[in-house]
Symmetry: C2
Subunit: 146 residues, 2 copies
DNA sequence: ATTGACCTTCACACCTATGGAAGGGTTTGA
DNA sequence: TCAAACCCTTCCATAGGTGTGAAGGTCAAT
């Protein structure tokens, strides 16, 4: 398929698809006339890239990750340089932290929304059985960044 | 404490702390002499902001999130405009998606690393420190972005 | 030939983050 | 008292990242 169809099927603008290609995230065969020629795999590939970007990973990192996330089984294992493996391990740790941080903050938001809904627009009293009001950062939804 | 100490204790430069204040992420009391005056809470606060930024949230969103993540319980409930609540709900959904995406991709990386180690030159086992629930059978590291 | 999709390339916008200079006040300690 | 170290503001400039817009040309089908 050409870039327009891939764009429609992924919801990613042609402009952005070309940008991703420029960044080395996706590559396409070319038809004799110079048009980009994508096969079915690219639909998932683009979604994957989008997901990783939305996860906060940079294009530079994603470029290194992608060969490892492809799943034609263990072929690429031999491709992985020790350097790449180190990058992956570091990035996995970062993802761990990010996940922990987001989970905690999401819980906090969930709690907040629940409280708002319970109390409506009237200032809700703290009839909270948990009691503790968290004096100084006790149960703070903090997650260290880096 | 003053900005220099907060900087040392958070690892965030004074320059950046002022920037965050300018963006409305943190605010400080002022001493009579005009110096910023932070109390202990701000150490966590700064870490929290860093974590959220590292999670991919923009300063604009974080600004709206923060009042809800503070935990002096139900005081801020009356502060929340319907608009803010809508923002929160939307953002929570986004966080859900981002979390799902990251978990999946982290599993994929974990799998890959395990495979490399099994077939590579240094067979080693490692436990997953987070124990995050992984969707059983979801092998595709793809996660929709938008 | 006109239309629409595609091509490349240049330039730009926004965001986070940082640096420096100018010009001036405050604290601390020798 | 004097200097060093810290703090203040404002402004300007920069860097790298993601993402767009538009110009000017090509390809293919009606």
């Amino acid at each position: 398929m050409r870039i327009g169809e891939l764009s429609k099927r992924t919801g990613v603008s042609p402009r952005l698809l070309r940008y991703y290609e420029e960044q080395g995230l996706i590559g396409a065969k070319r038809s004799p006339n110079g048009y980009r020629d994508y096969d079915e795999r690219y639909v998932d590939r683009v979604h994957q890239v989008r997901g990783l970007l939305d996860s906060g990973l940079s294009t530079r990192i994603i470029k290194q990750l992608l060969p490892c996330l492809d799943r034609p089984d263990a072929i690429y294992v031999s491709d992985a340089t020790p350097e790449t493996i180190a990058v992956l391990e570091r990035e996995r740790e970062r993802m761990d932290e990010r996940i922990r941080c987001m989970v905690r903050n999401r819980e906090a938001i969930t709690d907040y929304l629940a409280r708002v809904r319970r109390g409506g627009d009237a200032p809700a009293e703290e009839a909270d059985p948990t009691g503790e009001a968290a004096p100084a950062g006790a149960s703070a939804p903090v997650a260290a960044g880096g």
